[in-house]
Symmetry: C2
Subunit: 126 residues, 2 copies
DNA sequence: TTCGTTGCAAACATTTTGCAGTTTC
DNA sequence: GAAACTGCAAAATGTTTGCAACGAA
């Protein structure tokens, strides 16, 4: 992690991500914070998302319609993506899945650092 | 599936995807076929990838460094993505994973159509 | 002859970046 | 005061699209 000062806007981005379970995109975050931070720029949102991600504070959980979607809950869980409306829903699966996945042997991999399991379909609001 | 004529270039794209296990990007396909099809255009590659995908002939298996990666082997398997070099490796996991995943209950989903499990890390060539 | 397919280039959308000014420590 | 952070706008990137010509049936 590179040295880092306190930043009011980074804090706001992180807290917004913590407060929602909608797994927002950069644009959604920008529009949500803009009323409270009128001088916020989209570039700052992108820069801070990258920074928070490299810190391990947040994760990119999916790319929906070409937009990266983020989550501040970094506990092991998975996601369901609605192909119609783009909604991203948390999936807290049974213990056995991480166990089995962790034991999966992968020919050609030196080190497996993480995995991402995404379900696709249509949600109950569509 | 919408009505469709025979197309020599679409055929070539599909056969190229069948013949490799590198899970290529549109650009890689374009550059590979360009010598044999000098008048091939990148737009045609993109159009045919979308078409083949909507036909179910191929699948998008991952987005690596912002590039969609495709696979013509549509049997149930998973992938490992090297975060350093971008290599995508097939992962043929044990029977139990699909079983358990198929049984996962997802609150908020009406219908689960598919899932995608991607591992990340570094490969043995990096 | 009809309609799917293509090359080409322009358009598009998301994300990144250079720079000069501001904030944090 | 040094270094991190930011707004702004321009650039970069991967992908899509309009159109006129071409090819398949």
């Amino acid at each position: 992690m590179r040295t880092q000062n306190y930043s009011r806007k980074r804090q706001a981005i992180y807290e917004l991500l913590l407060s929602t379970d909608t797994h927002p995109s950069a644009d959604w975050i920008y529009n949500s914070l803009k009323p409270k931070y009128p001088d916020l720029s989209l570039g700052t949102v992108y820069r801070n998302l990258k920074l928070l991600e490299s810190n391990g504070a947040i994760k990119s959980v999916a790319v929906v319609d070409g937009c990266e979607r983020y989550d501040a809950r970094i506990s092991k869980h998975s996601h369901f993506v609605c192909k119609k409306c783009g909604r991203v829903i948390d999936v807290f699966f049974t213990e056995s899945i991480p166990d089995i996945i962790d034991k999966t042997y992968i020919d050609g991999a030196r080190e497996v650092e993480s995995y991402n399991l995404i379900f696709y379909g249509s949600c109950d609001k569509c």
